[in-house]
């Protein structure tokens, strides 16, 4: 088992390396000159050239990539002579556009994204899974058909549409909630909740719709298994059959899906964050693309991908705990 984990971690690191290379090359072929973006309108070619040198952008591409990797592991120093700026490991780069280290910017954006993702996660897992089970137990009857119809609608509505409609009616027209303005939950819990409730609902609708279907189909598959018939033939009450024998097997694949979805969201919910002006990683990503803030784009891509890759590993390990047939070798 520990051998398996070591191998998985090694392959994880290799995967991330490959990813940095791809992202790095992708952005190096962009027509925008990152050095030109470092100063405003009244820029002389001399300043640009100096900045280019300070940023290491005059180095060959491969060496730039090497410097970037080195920065991740041991940190790096920009500039030379009296004008130096040191960026500690893990150094994701320095955003001249924003005059801040990329890792600091991402750290600032993380709390809002974290609360958005986890809150929505709890909501959609709670609703999606329980409603899915309910539908499976009433398969083919009107309750099942209603739930599946609602799920289809929820799944089809784009989140920007739901988000804007909710914002318009709940906040602007009926004034049930104040205009969203993010604060930390430790600072002002009430305002935090008032701000987050709509984004949570928007995200949860989309995911819950998917998880209802997933759970329903998983449960139906499981309840048709031979071992469920065995459980009934032992004389177990139907409740025990469903809960102990059905859920245990039926929910296992849902753990996988949930882990990956949560990790994906921790990398930023671009649309939802933008609509509700949450200062999260999603908003940061949109702005970085608008400004062609190359170091920031690379940094966010890397962090988001890391979340997903790590979540993948965790889910695989969890699977071995849940399903005794899975042996990690």
């Amino acid at each position: 088992m520990s051998g398996y984990i070591v191998r998985r971690i090694i392959s994880m690191v290799l995967m991330l390396l490959l990813l940095t290379l791809v992202v790095f090359l992708l952005f190096s072929v962009l027509p925008t000159d990152p050095a030109r973006l470092t100063c405003g309108k009244a820029c002389t070619p001399e300043v640009i050239a100096a900045n280019r040198h300070n940023l290491g952008l005059d180095l060959p591409l491969l060496q730039q990539y090497w410097e970037f990797l080195k920065g991740l592991v041991v940190g790096r120093t920009y500039g030379s002579g009296t004008q130096t700026y040191s960026c500690d490991a893990p150094c994701l780069g320095y955003s001249f556009k924003r005059g801040e280290e990329v890792s600091v910017l991402i750290k600032q954006g993380f709390p809002a994204t974290f609360w958005l993702a986890t809150g929505a996660f709890v909501l959609w897992i709670g609703v999606g899974v329980s409603v899915g089970i309910y539908a499976a137990l009433r398969r083919g009857r009107w309750q099942d058909k209603t739930v599946m119809g609602i799920s289809l609608i929820g799944y089809s509505l784009p989140s920007f549409f739901i988000g804007l409609v909710l914002l318009y009616f709940v906040v602007l027209k009926w004034e049930l909630l104040p205009y969203p303005s993010y604060v930390s939950p430790f600072e002002n819990p009430l305002q935090f909740l008032q701000t987050m409730i709509l984004p949570w609902i928007v995200l949860a609708i989309l995911y819950a719709a998917f998880y209802m279907r997933l759970t329903r189909n998983q449960m139906l598959d499981t309840l048709g298994e031979d071992y469920i018939r065995t459980a009934r033939s032992k004389g177990l009450p139907e409740r025990t059959v469903v809960r102990k024998h059905g859920l245990r097997a039926g929910l296992t694949p849902i753990v996988t899906a949930a882990g990956l979805d949560l990790a994906g969201l921790l990398g930023g919910a671009i649309i939802t964050e933008s609509i509700f002006s949450l200062p999260g990683i999603g908003s940061l990503a949109v702005n970085s693309v608008v400004d062609a803030d190359l170091p920031l784009i690379v940094g966010i891509t890397l962090v988001t991908a890391t979340f997903i890759i790590v979540a993948n590993l965790i889910v695989d390990l969890l699977y071995a705990v849940i399903d005794p047939r899975v042996r990690l070798v």
Partner: protein
Amino acid sequence: MSTGSTSGATGPFLDVRDLRVEFPTEDGLVRAVDGVSFTVKRGQTLAIVGESGSGKSVCSMAIMGLHNRKSANISGQVILEGEDLIATSDEGVRALRGQKMAMIFQDPLSSLHPFYTVGKQLMEAIRVHQPVSKDEARKQTVAMLDRVGIPNPDRRVDDYPHQLSGGMRQRVMIAMALINSPTLLIADEPTTALDVTVQAQILELLKDLQRDFNTAIIMITHDLGVVADMADEVVVMYGGRLVEHGPVNDIFHRPEMPYTLGLLASMPRLDKGRAARLDPIPGLPPSLIRLPKGCVFRPRCTYHDNVPDGRCDTERPDLLTTAPGHEVRCHMPPELRRTIAAERLGARFEETA
């Protein structure tokens, strides 16, 4: 043949009367079991034989009350020791399942829960019917695993099903079915998924346990070898109906229904050598939605010319007694049926004489 030891009870131990199971579907009503009646005594084995789709499994699931009564129409009577299970509530039948009647299934791997140890699954079966402590249940479980021939039961009890061989898994299934000493055991093709050598061991084990517990067994199978080995009585099913019913010797040596003849003739025989071709029954089983108007077996029967006026096409034959305890559903006169059987299964008749 042994005579059942129905201690003090009047009438048979299990009495199935005119059992019908129908499933309404979008294509029409599926008559999976259409008026089946038979009885089983304690300590005896009844084999139900037939092709896939003949209704034998549906029939046994109905006895166990395992059909969802919302999606299946079930009528008739299933009287177990004087209590009609069809008229009993779902909860009432549930309390009997695993306690008074139990079932083992064809594929032991898919029939055991993959996420629980065999010990947990057996203990669960005990504790749902008996108010015993976990330790006591575990002790009973280990003893039962030992009884069904599992080596090192005190260690095997903590194994997961996938860690056991196919034969061991089926032994676990048998242990789980018999753990509360049920008086009726339904075995639905218990050896079909197993190796031939293991098959024989499992059948021996079942016979052995039957003697100990004086269990009535309903053995569902399409393997006539199993029937010959285990059964006291045989029910032959075709198209959801009972077409022939009698003591095992009558069915094997004096069969009368052409379908039973076909089943026996399609068995490979060592004594005839490889030159003798197998003699399969032509055609396919009928659709249970649109059954033929007359005899259900008519489209595949090669002897219907023997019946005048085309009655095989227009009239359902009744199940009539031809010898004590031997019932047949066929329009041909009994003498003719016996002659045909004698010709078709010549060798087998000589053995009995």
